[in-house]
Symmetry: C2
Amino acid sequence: MEKLQVDNALLKQFKLWVQDDNLENLQSQLTQMYPQDIAAVIDRLNTQEARVVMNALDKEAVVKVLVETEQDVREQFLSAYISYEIANEFIENMNSDDAAYILNHFPNYKKEEIISNLQDIEYASSLLELISYENETAGSLMALELVKAYQDWTVAKCIEEIRVQAENVESILVVYVVDNLERLLGIITLKNLILADPNAHIHDLYNKEVISVSSSSPVDEVANLTKKYDLMVLPVVDPLGRLVGRITIDDVVDLIKEEADEDYQLMSGITEDVDPTDKVWILSRARLPWLVIGLFGGIASSRFLEIYENQIMIHPEMAFFIPMIAAMGGNVGVQSSAIVVQGIANDTLGTKNIGQKILKELRVALLNGIICSVLILAYNLAFNDSYVLALTVSIALLTVIIFASVFGTFIPMLLNRMKIDPAIATGPFITTSNDLLGIVIYFTIGRLLYANL
Amino acid sequence: MEKLQVDNALLKQFKLWVQDDNLENLQSQLTQMYPQDIAAVIDRLNTQEARVVMNALDKEAVVKVLVETEQDVREQFLSAYISYEIANEFIENMNSDDAAYILNHFPNYKKEEIISNLQDIEYASSLLELISYENETAGSLMALELVKAYQDWTVAKCIEEIRVQAENVESILVVYVVDNLERLLGIITLKNLILADPNAHIHDLYNKEVISVSSSSPVDEVANLTKKYDLMVLPVVDPLGRLVGRITIDDVVDLIKEEADEDYQLMSGITEDVDPTDKVWILSRARLPWLVIGLFGGIASSRFLEIYENQIMIHPEMAFFIPMIAAMGGNVGVQSSAIVVQGIANDTLGTKNIGQKILKELRVALLNGIICSVLILAYNLAFNDSYVLALTVSIALLTVIIFASVFGTFIPMLLNRMKIDPAIATGPFITTSNDLLGIVIYFTIGRLLYANL
């Protein structure tokens, strides 16, 4: 098996094999590929071609590939099967967390229909429990497959138990130690099991220092604990402290990536998690809310500028710098808010209070503001006739940068105190409000200076 | 031990104990805390207080905490020690990857001085090798501690070897199988070792399907492989295929988080990786480049508007909508480019060529553009006297949204083709160029309509 670059050449090759019905070449290529790479190929084939490739896979591989394909591709593929087939050909052969993940994309009635068709009643009942956890909780992310040992067992008995459970649990990592009521007591690593005397008792060996998470905890907490304490696997307990599952770090990696992507999109004014391959109206719907906010901001700016209609008529040169003032206010606001939002998310803000934080932002803003104002003053004095305009632009720019910076710092901190996700404060919201703020400051200073100089 | 919320109350308690020289309470609290939480406390104490707390820790704990503290806090703490002490009290007791990480923050001469002071010559030579890897490569991220087995060993011999090496390797995860020339052949999991017949030979048991990375590979590749193939640990090989180290997923998690943070900051117009706790001039320097780009954009806009000075004098109402047109262009451009940049980073763009991609963006833009234009047309017809202005604003808005969208899609794709990080195209760059584009379109359409209607 080798890592493959899934490129156009490989895709063309696959399409050709499918066209020629060349099952032999297809299968010989597929056996050399990792499920993730096969899924990447299938994601880029049309439904008909994808089906041919999927059917060329053996039973075990098809499940692994299915988990890795994109959601719409998977739905397309599964739509050709009845619930009985989905249950016993696919779900049956998956890890519980993958099975729950895929089941959760079906409507409720279909989910239950598929589960009720499973031959393995015990597995079916576990899955029913798994899909009952609310979205975005630790329970919805966990797998049921784990190896546990009772504290009064010997090491030999524990190894025997691993032998029994080995088939179900792909990667064991650690053995969980529980009491008779299934409450989590601690962990014992495979290393320690290997190194221990087979007759030693688990309760003399296990490590009580285990970090666990409640099944109802939000996934954010799962991500934060895993990151902070460098965990490979995190046990999940119910409200009574009983061990119910475990979350492995590879799933947490996906989670962290998804959250980062969402924050990135939120800052760029996109409200839903969208892919470039999504449908036009979904892409459109995700962007429209922020554009409409921008429209309202623009209308507010226009209403404000109306007040200065006469001034613009007499000094049309004032209009020349409207774009600069608005843009710089927006830029500075986004910079400040991004730092604060990130600081809140990563808990690196420190314990300084809001006042101290704003004071520091003020100093940064003052420094940058002075540099920018001096630069633009030099430009205007050299290339523009009106020294009043030059002064107006520079003073306004400095003021706007300071205000935007304070505003950009204060708003996300305020939202955070009000338990609202501060990430919504970055991007279009800050840009729009600072545009308006900039215009107000610019024309107020302009009127003052033009009247008095 | 328990997870702790490191809050102001806990900090106050620590400061009090330090003040009262209450070593007993201090130590009893510290033994109940995880190194990560102790580090979080120390990061928020002053240098003097931090030193008292560090000195209250036992030898083993002090190293673990030191690795987790913030860089400036660590530097402050270590600055009180001579190279000999740093080597043998701290570096000596660390995992090689942590040791290399900390050493790399010292200047070159100091690095080598510390290493040459190590008593353990073998470890010193390993560290010399580790710090020689270039920054941002797999080699710079790996740890040397691992368990390897030769293919002709028996399982019993392998377990014996684990026993010998157990002290050095904190978490084993897998055993690497190598040939006589130390070339990586495959892996064997601890589970399989436990389950195997002790007399079986490794070469009959090991899994040849191992994904590895070259020590000179960029860290991006490490992150991508780990994410894609759900790896817990990734072996690192030299150009001859010899096993030289391994990278565990917890370090990759930190890496992914850092990269996401950098992208986030880049989009918000911040060029360096900064924390809210950094010094004022560092925060300032990180933001200034994009602000200066914004200045140039503003100057370009002003030069362009100068051409229309007479039109602004006659129709000052045209200036009212400059902020809206500029802002909407910027917003749409950032939305489009963010989706493309993220698609490139996550490899979810699909195989569609640039033309098809832009066509799709065009359709999204057309839909959003029409909705926004109709909204603003309705507003202007209702609240503004000039129907020419109303028409100008709406036609310009639609045109700007379409252009900004195409521009925002095309530029990052072009940069990517030119092997330039497309992430720099989002944020201020797109905003600034779309501001200018918006103004040009708005006034061109305005002149046309005012002259002919």
